[in-house]
């Protein structure tokens, strides 16, 4: 990712005297409008956003959309389980080995995906931005220490780390969230830090300091609004990473088997070895994960290509 080189369009505060939160929101609003305008210029960003919004709506309306409960056993007329049936009108995506409706599981799975994706992205943005901003702004030993910690954390492989957590704490979605909060903010912190390093040399920062603004004030009111678009970009990409992480951990058998997530669906299809024939069971969750991750990536990417013209016009 070339976020390091992206020149986010700095927002110079106006000279009208506004104080406190109003100033902060004024800067943020200006910055957001500008970035939103940039965003809508990009076709691929809009396509990506469209995919995300679609799955988000499905997740939101899931309880009203599902034809059956995700773990409701479908019984045929003769009393046998309606298991591993290929797609029919009543079950557009067929049924699983236990006689569950695949479509219902898929729709309910979007809730888990969106929950993990958005929460993960939020954590990545908050932690990464804070750490990166503090390291970049203060510099010196603070920067040195923080960046060495980042280097060390890069040595912890994510999936094995979450497996260890699951071994000790038992399978749950919170291990995955915790792992994301521990290890996925590293790149965001690095990128935000290098952005802050250039931002803090700008004249208006110097002016704010000369006017007697505290470090916190400078960071919060003057620097933060300018790095938020950048952290938003990395947060968008983190949506995809988080969803893949959840699916992967569940696939390995360390998720919560009582939650209908896409990863758990794939895990069931794999351990029963039914994926070798029941394609209607294993293909839809995979495609859903792919599309959401793709959408998140496109949204971030398209935006970056417009925001950083160097990537567009050689």
């Amino acid at each position: 990712m070339s976020g390091e080189s992206s020149e986010s369009r700095a927002v110079e505060p106006t000279t009208t005297v506004e104080t406190g939160w109003r100033r902060f929101f004024e800067n943020l609003k200006r910055s957001t409008y500008k970035q939103a305008a940039i965003f809508s210029e990009s076709k691929i960003a809009m396509v990506g956003m469209g995919i995300l919004v679609f799955y988000f709506l499905v997740a939101l309306l899931a309880p009203y959309l599902v034809p059956y409960e995700p773990f409701e056993r479908i019984i045929a007329d003769d009393g046998s389980w309606y298991s591993l049936e290929s797609p029919t009108a009543a079950h557009p995506l067929g049924t699983t080995d236990s006689g569950y409706d695949v479509l219902s599981q898929l729709i309910m799975g979007s809730r888990v995906a969106m929950f993990v994706g958005l929460l993960g992205a939020f954590m990545v943005a908050v932690i990464g931005t804070t750490v990166g901003m503090v390291a970049g702004y203060y510099g010196g030993w603070v920067d040195e220490t923080v960046m060495r910690v980042v280097d060390i954390l890069y040595g912890l492989p994510f999936i094995p780390f979450v497996i260890v957590l699951a071994t000790i704490l038992g399978g749950s979605i919170w291990n995955i969230i915790f792992g994301i909060a521990m290890l996925y903010w590293l790149t965001t912190a690095r990128v935000v830090r290098s952005e802050v390093l250039t931002l803090k040399e700008r004249p208006y920062i110097e002016a704010a300091k000369a006017a007697g603004a505290s470090d916190f004030r400078v960071m919060f009111y003057h620097i933060l609004p300018n790095v938020i678009p950048l952290s938003a970009l990395y947060a968008a990409i983190a949506v995809g990473y988080s969803i893949t992480a959840e699916a992967s951990i569940s696939f390995l058998g360390f998720g919560d088997p009582n939650v209908s997530s896409w990863g758990v669906m794939l895990q069931r299809a794999f351990v029963t070895q039914e994926f070798t024939t029941a394609w209607w069971w294993s293909i839809p969750p995979g495609i859903s994960i792919t599309l959401v991750v793709f959408g998140a990536y496109m949204a971030g990417r398209g935006y970056e290509e417009i925001a950083n013209p160097q990537l567009r016009e050689p």
Partner: protein, 328 residues
Amino acid sequence: MVNRRYVVRRFALMLVSLFMVLSVLFVLFRLVPGDPMSTVMDPRMPPEAREMVAEQYGLNEPLYVQYALYMTNVVQGDFGISFYYQRPVFDIIWGRLSNTLALMLTAFVMSYAVGTYLGAHLGWIRGTARERVEMTIVLLIRSAPVFWVGMVMLYVFSFQLGWFPLGGMRSVDAQYANAFEKFLSPDFLYHLVIPVITLSLFYTGLPLLLMRNNLLEVLTEDYIDTARAKGLAERRIMIRHAARNAILPVVTAFAIAVGFSVGGQVLIEQVFSWPGLGREMVQASLRNDYPLAQATFFLLSVIVISMNFMADLAYSYLDPRVQIGGEE
């Protein structure tokens, strides 16, 4: 050429990283619910044997003594006895490590070769309709979860077409005199094909996208115009002038890539029943075989950390200006 002070500092950082990983493991495995002894002792052991193990690992001592003992044991390669296999952990993981590296390194070499070339190609044809189509395909493949791609590959090539084995690393009757013979045998290579292709698809994304971005930046340089003005062939400019200069950051990205790749490796080993470290770790964890789970995690981290180290050294060799924390 290589800055000695940098190498020493970087090496120190690697040791600190390994030390931190071990400390994290020590702390985590003492959070296991119930008796902390359960992390080193099989509950099925007779009481006398338990007492002996407790003595040996200092479990009756205060925490800091346990910590010191733990570190000493690890340095000596003693990770305890696996509950499941009833054998020293060290002996088990050693064989698994070579299986993991055989798969991982093959996939790495393939994907970096293909990835940098395709990345340069996509950067070169930027802005064309063909680039958009190819980029979309690349991004879709990159977005697909690697274990699912593995399942689809198995479904198509092994179950439907029957071209490749269903998993594992060798046929039932295969016997080898030594590791060298094993890794070069046709049977092994036959089992390797589908896992390597799947893993390579997963690894290729990063070098490809980076190479493309770097190439776009390099193309703005004056020497590209100069090369054009000299009337050189397009292909020659792309490979000799542009790609050569764009490849540097791909080397550093390699370091970060390894961290992510180990995750992919674990998943692929699980899908294809590949008897490597990752699969061993998953199974050890599912069986609550704590000594083995700890050791496999540690070894996977060692792979990441040492590859990071080598990538940074390679980079400092290619670009002598680099130093720790000194990019500004």
